[in-house]
């Protein structure tokens, strides 16, 4: 299979998707910032929730996609699964980091500290490290087949690990204090949150399409740069 055989997304449809994402995003942000009143207890800072929760959702979604693509790659050995997996991993890392930063910004005024060893927060940080490892391994493997195979294995083992990490941290923390749990929210908050989750999910699909196209282009450049100039590759 050469790189030219890989299926490419349709650029016209991607633009349409981008426009739809932008619209939904604008709507979600407007609703989150202006439509709903500030939280009675936490004040304006609570609005961070409308981005923090969708970011955390995308992080989980991305790593699930990495897992599925990794399994598919190992079964079929089709490079497209590998390129989709790395696209999902990179997007997942961005949103994991975003969720951590937003959580920290929210935590400072609410809890009085930037960082707390909350099970969810801690697991998110460990998850970030697991998938950074995934990307670093890729950068250290030159052979595209080995790179794809090794990272797919890490994508699977890492995904199995995340829930166990969460349970172990939860266990560790409950010995000292109960984990922070979201209070029940009023109806309008939930709708705004759902709107933002939808906007982020659309953004995710848009980013996946773009990143996947980029991955194909990268692969193409790599092939052109590294192929020996003596006709040993066709």
């Amino acid at each position: 299979m050469t790189i030219n055989d890989l299926p490419r997304p349709n650029p016209g449809r991607a633009k349409l998707l981008g426009a739809a994402t932008l619209l939904l995003f604008a709507a979600g942000s407007a609703a989150g910032l202006f439509l709903v009143p500030a939280d009675a207890l936490q004040g304006e800072v609570q609005r961070l929730l409308y981005v923090h929760v969708p970011a955390a959702w995308l992080a989980m979604l991305s790593f699930f996609v990495v897992f599925v693509m990794s399994v598919l790659y190992l079964i079929q050995r089709d490079p497209k699964w590998d390129l989709l997996a790395v696209s999902a991993a990179e997007i997942g890392i961005v949103f994991t980091a975003l969720a951590l930063v937003l959580g920290s910004l929210w935590g400072k005024p609410t809890w009085g500290v930037w960082w707390t060893w909350d099970p969810r927060l801690t697991t998110t940080a460990i998850m970030l490290m697991i998938y950074v490892g995934y990307l670093v391994v890729r950068s250290f493997a030159d052979d595209p087949e080995k790179r794809a195979r090794w990272s797919a294995i890490i994508g699977i083992v890492g995904f199995v690990d995340v829930p166990i990490v969460y349970l172990s941290v939860l266990w560790w923390r409950t010995l000292h204090q109960p984990p922070s749990s979201p209070r029940s929210m009023a109806g309008e908050f939930v709708y705004v949150l759902l709107l933002n989750v939808a906007a982020f999910t659309l953004l995710y699909i848009f980013l996946m399409v773009r990143r996947y196209r980029l991955a194909i282009a990268e692969r193409h450049v790599e092939e052109l740069r590294l192929t020996r100039d003596d006709g040993r590759i066709t």
Binding site: D142, D143, E145, E222, L226, R228, R232, I233
Partner: protein, 237 residues
């Protein structure tokens, strides 16, 4: 199966390692009981071809059969009856000769008693130094010990990768004797070397590899001088 007259049959085998094609569309048939020598400059794909026949590498494209079993599907059956001797022999320098043999026997599923291990050692003339660590051996002795690990097993095909490397005249004769003896017992030999002059003496057929392609596959007497020295001549000094 297994009784056909062909030990190795490769059809349009290609192997991509990283971004280069190490082998391109190799077609090759090795008859049972014959000896085929692969020659070619370093990087021509000799070792890759041997490792592929040994099922250590999966072909990127093409099909192949070794001893009647498919390369893609039946690696274990092939490994049971195929031995590979790489340039460094896969000996453990901190183990003595007896321990190296015992390990090889366990790993290959040969039932070992002390007597058969010692017999294999005696066959290659190392019984007097059996308690000495392999790292203290000369390269000739190490090669003998490596041969002994193959002799313990009932193999139909041996793959020798650069067996003449770093051997003196005695060592080279020893390798030749091993090849002769092996073939006298009906075994098939596939040998890769860049020392062309040495190699062709023991060959029924010679395969000349160049840049991953099978340049020529013929009897030794049909070789052309250019086949024997395909490398560009470098200016002296």
């Amino acid at each position: 199966m297994g009784d056909s007259g062909v030990a190795v049959r490769l059809e349009k085998i290609s192997k991509r390692l990283g971004w280069t094609w190490a082998l391109r569309e190799i077609g090759l048939e090795v008859e049972r009981g014959s000896s085929v020598v692969l020659i070619g400059p370093n990087g021509a794909g000799k070792t890759t071809l041997l490792r592929l026949v040994a099922t250590l590498l999966k072909p990127t494209a093409g099909t192949g059969e070794v001893l009647g079993s498919s390369l893609q599907g039946d690696a274990d059956t092939i490994r049971r009856r195929t031995g590979l001797l790489s340039a460094r022999g896969h000996l453990y320098g901190d183990l003595n000769a007896l321990e190296n043999l015992r390990f090889a026997a366990w790993m290959s599923g040969v039932s070992v008693d002390e007597a058969s291990v010692r017999a294999a050692l005696a066959k290659v003339g190392l019984d007097h130094v059996s308690e000495q660590r392999a790292r203290e051996y000369s390269s000739g002795m190490q090669k003998r010990l490596a041969f002994a690990t193959l002799l313990m097993r009932r193999l139909d095909l041996v793959l020798l990768d650069e067996p003449y490397a770093s051997l003196d005249a005695d060592g080279i004769r020893m390798v030749d004797e091993f090849v002769d003896e092996w073939r006298a017992e009906g075994g098939t030999v596939l040998l890769a070397t860049h020392r062309r002059g040495l190699a062709v003496r023991k060959a029924d057929r010679v395969a000349v590899l160049q840049a991953g392609r099978l340049h020529r596959y013929c009897r030794p007497d049909e070789l052309e001088p250019a086949d024997l020295d395909p490398q560009p001549v470098l200016p002296a000094g």
